[in-house]
Amino acid sequence: MGKAQNACAGSKSSEENRAGSVMVVGGGVAGIQTAMDLTDLGFYVYLVEKGPAIGGAMAQLDKTFPTNDCSL
């Protein structure tokens, strides 16, 4: 999550016309992954989330199949 977060840090500034920028609407697992991949491909991402924290539905899950990894 680190990268998406970093790419976002500038979103509070008043910049409006950043070249090579993309907007991702929704900060669940799909949105986060998209944002991270886009930064890895050389783009600046605005990740927009309605709620107070990113993670979406996946953050509610206990364990994930089949590795029992915690979902966070």
Partner: protein, 883 residues
């Protein structure tokens, strides 16, 4: 389920970990009273005068991923939800089993706090239900219900669990294995529709009817409703703002062959909003969308990026004092419910060189990273021992924190007391604690010898190699080329297209032939793609960013060899129809496969849709020959059955099946087939249908409604035979890429890295990864293109520092290591006329085989040196050693 305060953090690992005020619960925002929080907050962080601001951002593309919505309470009410406290939704149940949930992971009834002794899951709540306008299948509920049932069984092995279902749809890769595991654990699967849910004292009584016509009722302590995924509540608003269309169920409408493109140019959709789906599919779509955007905006690549900077590394030399910090994680209660975390931390604090030892509730949370950084500074720590969970998932996070704190990431050591202690010894807490203390002591002993290791960077050849010229390979090749990088596309056959050429139409009525034509034309036009037909990969050497492959083209006599340098490899080698020997395929003329039927139906033959047809599902998959579900056969059977009905409405089509797996929106066509008179008859694995030859060839099967054996003499017997991978065995040896027991390529992480392989720089998509339909293949191929393009974009690749190091003084040049190395990562040099071995760091995977075989102990593994391993072993024997 539990009380939360108006001002809170959703969960300990939340990002950002900032407290927020819930506007629906705040007395000031609701009634303009209270405001107690304002003067209480010491950092004066509460400012009620803040107003929502509107800002304008001009962006090149938009990706919408709003997720899914909740099934309405109206629907849930039909199942007794709200009338009995122990009728819960699967999401609520998930929270109950969770360590950070309302009961700290203890499973108990809301009614009186007793532990439920019998538990029922009701499937398809709010899915496959035209009563609530959700005709589609949510596709994930069967799998998560099985997961939750297994977790519940692990909580209490005595608990009796029954899952009431219509079809078990575990079509995902290796998901059927979980169902078999659940059955072996004693979880009951009952194919029945639950007709009534009624309060029964403390319990809940379910009335249900099974296929044989019996009505039964049974009381349960708790009932879990496996709720489906609905379109998000604000779907219409989002669609209106962005200007794209929705489908009939208010999910985003997309085309089958362009699955992530909304009806508005430049706006893409990923995740459950595109259609209900699970985590790996969502993650795959995310990468795929990134690849589409990357093609669209390639001219702007890199212009807006801000690179992260790390502080200069603090030098840690051999003579510096070893100062170890030990952090013992509670993992909520995942660890601390079994292991006595406080005493582990206390014991750790007594070990030599440990200058700081502490506990933490969730070491992986964002604020815990800040704490970790502060402690490193405060106590001048130069070794960290994180005593928590699995390094597989969390080591990179902590290593990143170390880098942020100016420490080399190799100074980090992880001890896994969750998997190795609290999970496996859940029933023996004292022994688990003792083992944790042993493991920490060993970790600390090893950590004393941890040295900073250099992270190497290697340049990347900005070219890709794609193996396989079917749908997956063509899509990946085009996508990488569209992003601006040259691609070599290797196809074994004489033409491009693979299986796509055999599919005549899709369930949604699209034409694969048209798609193939378009793709072929695009590849011809795209100058960056070089196509090699009749060609195969002969050898491959090198490592991420620097592969060299030899491609052999043409027949054996006129074989031509070409050497190609490339940075990445995408495996899209595909699969083929499985030719089963069962059901008299190949010996009885009227027994054919679905693919053969499809070809027949697409032709003009007079009797192509005869008056009676029997289809046998899972004729190869799910146990008969292949251990897995082939995912596409149910859709194919429904598609062909509908086609037969279209040509010859009088035809009697019987489909013998185990579970019809028309997941997602394909459920509509399944319903249509039933409405048009296609007869679907389930059979059990133990009572499989048979093809018998006598005077005529007949199908014999058990009819669950009549409760007797039935014999029928159809004109055609059509087998759904399933899909097998092609050539993965040879390639897996060439590339050292692991395959599953079923010989599909094994992804690096099932959920989070679904198109990457364990070997860096190698990616997979299409049937080589697992059986899947056209739309999912396209998405996966685009996702592989995104991942494969990343090293090409960066232009350099980082190599893990845990590689072997050969001491030239001790090396006798015997060459054993060279012959043992599975990655060709050691080469022989002549130094002063003496043979000496040397590691190629970028090729080395750190497996340690060379070190274990070296007769003179000349080889050490970075991060796992002889000293470190010996120290660990000695520490296990409790021999204290202080450097």
């Amino acid at each position: 389920m539990d009380i939360t305060r108006p001002i809170h953090i959703d969960y300990a690992q939340a990002v950002p970990a900032t407290y927020y005020i819930d506007p629906d619960a705040c007395l000031f925002l609701k009634h303009e009273t209270c405001q107690i929080c304002v003067p209480v907050c010491q950092s004066k962080a509460i400012d009620f005068s803040q107003k929502a601001e509107e800002k304008i951002y001009n962006v090149g593309a938009v990706i919408v991923s709003p997720g899914f919505g909740k099934i309405s309470e109206e629907v849930l009410k039909q199942y007794g939800y709200g009338q009995h406290p122990d009728v819960v939704t699967s999401i609520e149940f998930e929270r109950m089993t969770n360590a950070s949930g309302p009961f700290q992971g203890e499973l108990k009834c809301f009614n009186d706090g007793r532990h439920p002794k019998n538990l029922a899951f009701i499937q398809c709540v709010g899915s496959r239900d035209i009563g609530c306008d959700n005709g589609y299948c949510s596709g994930v509920c069967c799998m998560y219900a099985i997961k939750e049932a297994i977790v519940a069984k692990e909580h209490d092995p005595e608990c009796e669990i029954t899952i009431f279902y219509m079809d078990i749809r575990t079509q995902g890769k290796d998901f059927d294995q979980a169902k078999i595991k659940a059955e072996n654990m004693g979880i009951k699967f009952v194919r029945a529709k639950v007709a009534d849910v009624m309060n029964w004292g403390k319990q809940i009584k379910l009335t249900y009817s099974t296929m044989d016509g019996t009505h039964s009722f049974e009381p349960f302590d708790m009932v879990v409703l496996a709720v489906g995924l609905e379109s998000p509540k604000d779907a219409k608003t989002i669609a209106d703002i962005a200007g794209f269309e929705l489908n009939q169920y208010d999910f985003c409408r997309t085309e089958e062959f362009d699955p992530l493109q909304t009806s508005k140019e430049g706006v893409f959709v990923v995740g459950a909003f595109q259609g209900p789906k699970d985590i790996p599919e969502s993650v795959t779509q995310s990468s795929a969308a990134a690849s589409l955007v990357s093609s669209l905006m390639k001219s702007k690549r890199g212009e807006g990026v801000i690179l992260k900077e790390y502080p200069t590394e603090i030098p840690v030399g051999d003579d510096d004092e070893v100062r170890i910090g030990v952090f013992v994680c509670h993992c909520g209660i995942n660890i601390s419910s079994v292991v006595d975390v406080a005493s582990v931390a206390k014991e750790a604090g007594k070990l030599g060189n440990v200058v700081y030892a502490t506990e933490s509730l969730y070491s992986c949370s964002q604020d815990a990273q800040e704490v970790l950084k502060e402690r490193i500074k405060e106590h001048r720590l130069n070794r960290i021992v994180m005593t928590a969970c699995s390094p597989r998932t969390h080591e990179p996070l902590f290593q990143e924190t170390l880098k942020d704190a100016g420490l080399n990431r190799s100074l980090f050591e992880m001890v896994n007391i969750r998997d190795h202690c609290s999970w496996v010894h859940a029933q023996e807490p004292e022994a688990a604690t003792a083992k944790s203390i042993d493991l920490v002591r060993m970790g600390v002993a090893k950590s004393r010898h941890n040295k900073p290791l250099l992270e190497q960077t290697v340049p990347v050849t900005k070219t890709a190699l794609v193996l396989g010229g079917g749908l997956a390979g063509m899509t990946t090749a085009l996508s990488i080329a569209d992003q601006g990088y040259p691609v070599h596309l290797i196809e074994r056959g004489a033409t491009l297209g693979g299986n796509l050429a055999n599919i005549k139409t899709t369930l949604r009525g699209e034409s694969p032939a048209k798609l193939l034509k378009t793709l072929t034309a695009q590849i011809k036009k795209q100058k960056l793609v070089s196509v090699y037909l009749n060609s195969e990969l002969e050898t491959v050497s090198g490592f991420v960013g620097n592969f060299t492959s030899v491609i052999a083209s043409g027949k054996t006599k006129k074989k031509k060899e070409v050497t190609i340098d490339h940075g990445v490899i995408v495996l899209a080698t595909g699969g083929k129809e499985h030719r089963t020997k069962k059901f008299k395929l190949g010996t009885v003329k009227k027994v054919i496969t679905q693919l053969e039927l499809e070809a027949k139906l697409a032709g003009t033959g007079k009797n192509r849709a005869p008056d009676s047809v029997v289809m046998i599902q899972c004729a190869g998959s799910r146990g008969a020959d292949l251990g897995y579900c082939s995912k596409v056969c149910c859709n194919q059977a429904v598609k062909n059955a509908l086609k037969i009905k279209e040509i010859n409405p009088e035809s009697q089509v019987i489909v013998l099946y185990r579970d019809i797996r028309t997941y997602g929106f394909a459920e509509d066509q399944y319903k249509e087939a039933r409405e048009k008179g296609v007869i679907f008859v389930p059979y059990k694995f133990a009572k499989k249908p048979k093809v018998l030859s006598g005077k005529t060839d007949v199908v014999e099967y058990f009819d669950p409604i009549l409760q007797e054996q039935v014999t029928i003499n159809p004109k055609l017997i059509v087998l759904s035979v399933g899909i097998v991978p092609e050539g993965t065995e040879t390639l897996s040896k060439l590339l050292k890429a692991p395959v599953t027991a079923d010989e599909f390529f094994l992804e690096a992480h099932v959920k989070l890295r679904p198109v990457e392989l364990a070997v860096e720089g190698v990616y997979v998509c299409g049937l080589a990864h697992g059986p899947k339909p056209i739309d999912e293949t396209i998405v996966q191929a685009q996702a592989a293109a995104a991942k494969a393009s990343m090293p090409l974009v960066k232009g350099s690749a980082k190599v893990a520092p845990t590689v072997s190091v050969i001491d030239k003084e001790t090396c006798i040049g015997c060459g054993i290591c060279v012959s043992m190395c599975p990655y060709n990562a050691i080469k022989m040099l002549k130094i002063d006329k003496k043979r000496k071995a040397e590691t190629v760091p970028a090729s080395c995977k750190g497996c340690g085989i060379c070190a274990s075989r070296c007769p003179t102990f000349a080889i050490d593994m970075g991060g796992f040196t002889q000293d470190q391993v010996m120290a660990q072993i000695k520490a296990f024997g409790n021999i204290e050693e202080v450097v």
